[in-house]
Symmetry: C2
Subunit: 298 residues, 2 copies
């Protein structure tokens, strides 16, 4: 039932950096991705083809991709919000994209300017064209446990959105507890609903540690058969010590958890901790990760 | 199998404060305990009758007890290391004591100056006299997953020590992952062994969040039938962001977890978060708790 090996999707260079105040150079973003690849991640979210006015941290994603070996076995998904983004991703040689939907209309409207149904309609064309071009496609569903505007989200609503993304051809559906309010029973109820329409093996758990529940939620999801988890080196993407911060679960903490469970991740914890301290220093803050602190180099 | 109601033992005023550099006055310690009682804890570790030279933070515990209503339904265990400590606790009117053993000889030797067997022999007299005087006795076992000197600790060693404390008459055995290295499978293997000699209903889980695993470990232990958990307001007892800090799991995080699981704790989360911010301000540091930050008053 439980997986003896899990895939960790490192989202720090996109989901993480996008929510950090500091802005890295293209060379620094490439260096971060390379170090994460060297630490052993097989999938690293590399950037986003979004408006540089809205998300300056993700400007020049094409230049970042140009700095990577895109024909390696490592996956480098890039986020694309629409067909224009897809055009840019294709032109830059991307082999994997991600689209970002939500299980909450209000969140979707505020985040991407369209309600859930309108966003799914928009993604249909994006996904079809991406598949035609031979790309892999990740579908994100955010707010799978709760929404900052609407409160708790019904598992059936998550099922609808995840099912729609799956049926339009996404090969992996990442279920995001965007505001970190889930506890294990919420996670299990949500997974149970989603599993009616999407095979559990194609689901990814994307947890935030805003309330300190990430390790419990990942453990519960893993016990329920989930084999892929998103995580962010050094917890990039918001410091969980500040109110309202996003608090992506730190990759180090997940690698430690799975190491303890005897589950293979392919990631070298010591190297990862080095990367966490290196990027945190560059960003001028402490790693938002317990493991990075506990295992800090002397 | 899983409990619909759990007992949380608030250890901040003893295990927590004892590991904080700042020293509170007797009035402040009483105020902290009173606020925790008002938040709903039914058991609050109130102090320790130990050498004030070694642990100045616990000096004047008799005066702290004098400031509390000891005939209330709330339990106020105090730590006693030996018969002299017991004499002082009895003189101060304590109705519940705790003794502190370890599952590691090296840790025991360095921490209390006796190996495990010698410490258990010493506690036999203490526990017998305490029981004769009508007191309740908590037995702590530390290093139940790992020891800073010896590394991993065998579940059978924990079983021996927990069993010995149980058989000498302790009514509750608190199993402490003192350095926070446990992950859920370690916890389950350890509980499985201990349950051969001590009824699960008499066990308490005492977890540290040093590596971000506390919520997963508590969840796993609760699923295995444990009904009592130790926790420390604001994570008192070491800042988990500093290497080597103890990192007691924060009471707020556990109350949040159990609230999410639909499990009754009797504790009012909003009031507890207020106490966490109040005591942290007094100690001149930020709460070491994700929930206290996420729910910080505006």
């Amino acid at each position: 039932m439980t997986a003896a090996r899990v895939k960790l999707v490192e989202v720090g260079p996109r989901d993480g950096l996008q929510n950090e105040p500091a802005r890295l150079t293209v060379a620094e973003r490439c260096a971060l991705i390379e170090r994460l690849a060297e630490a052993g991640f097989s999938s690293i979210e590399a950037g986003a083809f979004v408006s540089p006015d809205k998300v300056p941290q993700m400007a020049d994603t094409a230049a970042v991709l140009a700095g990577l070996k895109l024909d390696s076995p490592i996956g480098y998904p890039v986020l694309v919000p629409n067909e224009r983004g897809l055009d840019a991703a294709l032109a830059a040689g991307a082999r994997e994209i991600a689209v970002f939907a939500a299980a909450s209309d209000t969140f979707s409207q505020r985040n991407i300017g369209a309600d859930v149904d309108a966003s799914l309609k928009r993604y249909e064309a994006v996904v079809r064209r991406a598949l035609d071009a031979g790309l892999l496609v990740r579908g994100y569903v955010s707010c799978v446990a709760g929404c900052p505007y609407e409160g708790p989200i019904a598992p059936e609503r998550v099922e609808e959105v995840a099912g729609a993304l799956w049926e339009m051809g996404c090969d992996e559906i990442s279920l995001g507890d965007t505001i970190g309010v889930a506890t294990p029973n919420t996670v299990l109820a949500m997974l149970d609903a989603v599993a009616d329409r999407v095979p559990v093996a194609q689901l990814a758990g994307h947890f935030h540690d805003t309330y300190g529940m990430a390790s419990a939620n990942v453990y519960a999801a893993w016990r329920a058969g989930v084999m892929t988890f998103d995580c962010s080196v050094a917890g990039l993407g918001g410091c969980p010590y500040a109110r309202g911060a996003t608090g992506n679960v730190a990759s180090e903490d997940l690698v430690w958890l799975f190491k303890g469970l005897g589950v293979e991740t392919g990631v070298d914890l010591a190297r990862l901790v080095e990367v966490a301290h290196w990027i945190s220093q560059r960003l001028g803050r402490a790693p938002a990760s317990r493991v990075a602190h506990a295992l800090a180099p002397h």
